[in-house]
Symmetry: C2
Subunit: 602 residues, 2 copies
Amino acid sequence: MSNSKSADLFESSDSSRSGKPLRFAQYVTFDEPITLAAGDVLPSVTVCYETYGQLSPQRDNAVLICHALTGDSHVASHDDEDDPGWWDILIGPGKPVDTDKYFVICPNVLGGCRGTTGPNSIHPETGKPFGSDFPVVQIEDIVDVQRRLVDHLGIDQLHGVIGGSLGGFMALTWGVRLPSRVRGVVAMATSPRLTSQGLAFDVVGRNAITSDPEYQGGQFYSNGQGPLVGLAIARMLGHITYLSREAMTSRFDVNRMDARNIKTRFETKFAVGSYLAYQGDRFGDRFDANSYVTLSTAMDLFDLGGTAEELREAFAVTKARWLVMSFSTDWLFLPFQSREIVNALIANNRPVTYCNVISKCGHDAFLLADDLESYGEMTRAFLDNIDEGSDHAVANPVPERPTSIFQNRLEYDTLLEMIPPKASVLDLGCGGGEFLGRLQDQGHHHVVGLELDERAILACIQRGLDVVQVDLNEGLAAFSDGQFDVVVLSQTLQAIRNVERVIREMLRVGKHAIVSFPNAAYAPLRERLAEHGLSPQTDSAQGYHWFNTPSVRTFSIRDFEDFCRMQGIRIERQIAIDTRAGTAVTEHPNMQADIAIMMLSR
Amino acid sequence: MSNSKSADLFESSDSSRSGKPLRFAQYVTFDEPITLAAGDVLPSVTVCYETYGQLSPQRDNAVLICHALTGDSHVASHDDEDDPGWWDILIGPGKPVDTDKYFVICPNVLGGCRGTTGPNSIHPETGKPFGSDFPVVQIEDIVDVQRRLVDHLGIDQLHGVIGGSLGGFMALTWGVRLPSRVRGVVAMATSPRLTSQGLAFDVVGRNAITSDPEYQGGQFYSNGQGPLVGLAIARMLGHITYLSREAMTSRFDVNRMDARNIKTRFETKFAVGSYLAYQGDRFGDRFDANSYVTLSTAMDLFDLGGTAEELREAFAVTKARWLVMSFSTDWLFLPFQSREIVNALIANNRPVTYCNVISKCGHDAFLLADDLESYGEMTRAFLDNIDEGSDHAVANPVPERPTSIFQNRLEYDTLLEMIPPKASVLDLGCGGGEFLGRLQDQGHHHVVGLELDERAILACIQRGLDVVQVDLNEGLAAFSDGQFDVVVLSQTLQAIRNVERVIREMLRVGKHAIVSFPNAAYAPLRERLAEHGLSPQTDSAQGYHWFNTPSVRTFSIRDFEDFCRMQGIRIERQIAIDTRAGTAVTEHPNMQADIAIMMLSR
């Protein structure tokens, strides 16, 4: 993973500490045989870890950080003299994962090479390094060792587990295999399993390592420097997949022939070539080839399921609240894969928030400062609200946010009044969550919002709401039939192209649907067309014109009634409003009302 | 490049002939020192090539095929006993490149290893293979040798040059460096230069080869088998980039753990892993490592420019007609890069047709049968119409196609009548080219269409028209100020979200703009709203409703007039039509006309 914000083009956020000792590292050894998922037994396991902040007297503020493929326990620096940590931007006093509030734990993973038992550890029986005799490790084995560490620290339940990429696999595994041990899971830039394309890159990287004659079947520790060429090739390849194409272009394409003059065994043609050579060469100084093979194999073997059904089953047991974030230009762990996780949680009616952060940075985005305002602040708000509504709840003032689409008090109150008590509610296009927040305050227990806008999503999380980023035109496929009592679509239908599909989906997912929309047959609009020959523009008061209005559907109350008749939809209740007069309209609503609210069912 | 249509998952279209002799290969040796672009001199060059069909007495029907990185001269089979050619689906009697019409020539490239002089050829002075002493070759050197072959065959001007991928670089080079030697260029799945991401993959591949101890500095021919491991790694990596992620998923993800049991030195975990191992192992049987390094370096050095301005200059000299095709899932040579080529040709007012073929196959799509109906038929139509309007023109019956958006004869005739004689015309949303075809028949020399639909684009090419695939919502940035006399937008404005931008762009690119649109204030529509409270739906006669109409803008003649006044646009002429009555409307057009046609200027 590499840091595009660094002053030096060649610096990389997690490769800056090669060989240095970890001053604050702590160690614990579990001196008993540990049976791995595949059946192999490790005689004992030592875990290297670091901690930050203070464990509360209730022992309920612990946050576990899971590192990615080549990370280590040094997630943040401990003091001014300490070396930089690989996630310093996220973790520390006052930072998104605030070590003034939370007790942060970061262990090096099983199979790694930075203090925790791995292939370069000494086998207690032979007195020599395991080498390629180190057993096949899976993500669940890594998590099992992390769980032992958490037990050792006397923590029954983690406040949160956070991980990105391979660390995301661990976070997912905590959520589904140790459901009572964690209250909140933050999974970034991850997936239920690698794509075949992702697998393919890993396979080529391992082939480069194990085909290097210096690999010596994995027993290279006593003889030579190890497969530095193969490891460098694997690292170069990895680097390409961590960056977006756009990031590579902006970084290397301006002066593409401008190769850095470095001492290396590799080709240094082109700016990008000398960068890769530099990264490849340096990697061998700090990482063990057998660990690379072990952990990349663990990554490849991780598989929560390949179908929606398998994933639904995999996530059935989780009890945690979830925050899932993908990054728009990540092509190694793709946004649609995060959506698969989210859909499985939705199918199980679990609380989940999802955002696909718009980023230029590719897979590495979760390690970089560029998008910290999004993913960092979402993480902060999520951690602070995991216990919203539970005994663990922390007082959390709802921030003032831009007002939502609810411009009209009467419409807003009417909508609220229409929702039956204790109903579960899905709000399509929920904005910053004002309406849902009101419902939550009124004691509606299961309220979920769908929203496109990243800032509005953050505002929802800050209110302690669950919100999923969805383009309504794509439908509500993730939700099951009758999953909510009420599905609300307020002042949005006129901006949707695929009206039939959205209404059909609302009535599938909700027992009732409530829509509100502007009425194009309101008397002043009729007059506008009939008398003046001008388009019946419903939002001209908001400063829109026919050529730039977000309203792409022009329709009246009667048009909508006709539509319902054609589609066999029952209108249970209909409330028409004249917002200018501030009154409900009972006579000639299609003439006298500018807004209609309808409660529908099949 | 690999063939996903093959019965055997593991077969690959261009790797099936390892070591076999080329029965129909011909050879010519240019026995004179040849100076390369970088200054090195080759003492002589032998070219291996194959030909198909008959050269016409006028010597004007020759089509040159340029192969990609690992191809050869055997582009198609010559008879039933012959081995398959790598582009058999495209080339042969009655096929898109019809060898009953065209004399097809396909040479192996300079620096290759299938008969033409390359690193494994014997250096005439030393009596040993060149090895890594083979000079750096650039695409212009490869094309220079192809030009010598064309000279040798007595051909002054090629009817066409066709190439994909690296072969596309050659086709581009013919167009811009030998402008008088070629009438038509077909460039598929190519770009003005690699992205830095593409460069990076090549660099890693070469590093794998040259770091393999068996590479021996490139002089491996007399000692051992050569760098088979490094070459295999490079090939595996290449394979990943040739396939789309989607193609890999559908091919390997269903049974992802289902590895083929093959004998190989490489890892065979996962379906995709054993596939890559198989491809990697086989590649060494048929390809030379030094050729791989030579040709991939030539690919990386190719650079027509990194900015629109540089590309405009690069393409300024071309005289050919162009067909540029990209493939939607190609992530090695991306569609936007083809658009850069197209934009440079447009900026030079050169005739060009462009289509981004919707494909699942990735970069390899141009070698596969899946999308042949698109790219193959476009190639056929283009080749048959290169000379449309010139002395070389072949009689070409315009096929019957689905009718265009011009539903109304009167509107159609009015539009035609509005265009001044001999005008250059750009038609936005040109459909199958009916209107442009009429203009071309009337002697308007420079007519160009923009269209989104792939089938409509093919219909245009079959009419001998130039058509560029553009989403009008993205604007007309490729076109320069005042490039056309008239820009036409017929019955499309109501379906466009970004009205202001499209009109502004029309008036920038055209000296005049002509728009036609339906009038929402037509009397029956006024009545519909005023009397019945129903939306003034302009296309209800076409079976659309308010909830599914493609018309996302509802506006009247007066609305449009107001818009023009606000924007400072002059309405030069205005013709309103009552299509029911079949007459032009002069009194109260905003009431009496259902369609308006306006000629605008700044």
